[in-house]
Subunit: 342 residues, 2 copies
Amino acid sequence: MHLRLLSLGFGNVGRALAAMLAAKADELRDRHDLTLSFTGIVTRSTGPVIFEEDVSAAHLVETAWPDGRVGAPVPPLLGDVLALIRQSPADVVLELTPLNPHSGQPAIDHIRAALATGKHVVTANKGPIAYAYRELRALAREHGVALRFESTVMDGTPLFGMAEACLPATTIHGFRGLLNSTSNYVLGRMAAGETLEQAVAGAQRLGIAEADPSNDLEGWDGAVKATVLANVLMDADIRPGDVDRSGLGAEAMRAARTALAPGETLKQLVVAGRSDSTGVTRASVRLAALPPSDFFAHLSGSETALMLRTDTMQDLTLIEGEGGPGQTAFGLVADLVAIARA
Amino acid sequence: MHLRLLSLGFGNVGRALAAMLAAKADELRDRHDLTLSFTGIVTRSTGPVIFEEDVSAAHLVETAWPDGRVGAPVPPLLGDVLALIRQSPADVVLELTPLNPHSGQPAIDHIRAALATGKHVVTANKGPIAYAYRELRALAREHGVALRFESTVMDGTPLFGMAEACLPATTIHGFRGLLNSTSNYVLGRMAAGETLEQAVAGAQRLGIAEADPSNDLEGWDGAVKATVLANVLMDADIRPGDVDRSGLGAEAMRAARTALAPGETLKQLVVAGRSDSTGVTRASVRLAALPPSDFFAHLSGSETALMLRTDTMQDLTLIEGEGGPGQTAFGLVADLVAIARA
């Protein structure tokens, strides 16, 4: 099978994806019967670029696209990405634009346009799954295409793939997770004696934290991830605004550190559970003082973890070592292979 | 799809499987289009029992089989289980007999007989996979049937399912694991001040340790699991006797505890890796003094863990909370669903 890709966004993750597809091209062809090409790429700096002939991932890597640009901008479409998506001959639209944690837009519209015109969608942007999962899932089913999103939580750690392929006849009652590495890295540095400001600056130097770290420290990133997990894995129907984010932010972090008992470790913890009586799923992001008996307390700031509470395997935990664009790219590759297999 | 099962062995795991299949019958039928029945069961105490008409898992549970026995022993076949397997009308043979860690027999012969007569095999017995994986895999392919074994390591934790379904284009370079809960439970109790003898007796009371715990404490169980993982996940071709098991056993456990530095935790650790230069995979089971920075040090004795070292996701870890027959049964269910899906 050959899949033609249209990539919306092409930053660190897009480049890592091209690198992985180039490095794994033989293996994907020989072991998974899958070849891939790019029909076009849309970025903020280049605008929409349609290639006259599809280009390979290897070619994008070799030319360090867009530096050694292949293809030309398409001025008439500039600003009308939705028309470009609808008219694209691509089989798969990759949604790699930045997260809008408060609405999921404009990525939701991108995905609607793709699905409605019969294109598969693979998204690393978690906004659309947090804000419009049920609608988009129904749209994908209606048009007989796939909507996949492995890279939305814990990079490409196979959370959704495992639940889909490996946990049949299983009910997930709840979960707890260390999902925001920026917050947990910063808390770890504060435990090592740094001030919040020093820790944030260090995280920014390492590329872990963004220029404005408030989405991480105030729990919006965690709330969006909790929503994705609850809605997909627990069949809930919540929105990020429904997630309890009390007691977060810079001041709370300083106060919680001061109040910590000896032996305890402070983490930004995501928790969700379904009420036995009402069936309602509640989720929260909070600062938790973990006792030393909790192995979550001993994960480094750059590790992420998700413990699923199930009725078959009881507690089952996945831990990702230090993540990054390469691991996010892997999740996209896994989704593309899953589309080819189906 | 309807699958008829012949179960070789029907102890704690067999009973847990019947209970899970009974409890999940509606879900398996509605969500996975799968119904199941038992054509026969072979145990040491009952001999081979063939049911005149297939019985449901619910019926086995209700009659507390073999107490309220359904069907009758088949005396002419007694002692010739292989003939029974060959002649059985079952679609799937469940290999649930006890592990022989030194040869994998007679379970290897059971599986050969099943595959060679066109029956799928689901085994919780890891001996055949440790001693004859390549041969049995080839036999299964030749006859167009499945050979599945999710429950052989860490109960039903989806190690093999995840590698198969969710880690495409990925090379596993090595792994480290806490795979033997008996040893790690005993080491945990020793850390809490008990003698080895007290800890073993406690583990036996809890049903964690067998009457003769030497297969666990001397690393045979770990060596068999390391072999299964290396041969399946890393395409190695080793046998349990190739796994380095130096410095194990009761005397070594006492000595290693005494030699432990402050803050260190003693665990029975399984490690495997492929040499970059020779491509040869080496595996070991040993007592390891883990520093407090290693989260494996903070897992309880009843938790098991496997960290895969990959070229795509880097380090990816699966942790099972306290396991037992129910989790092993779940792995069998997952394998049966995978057969129905394929």
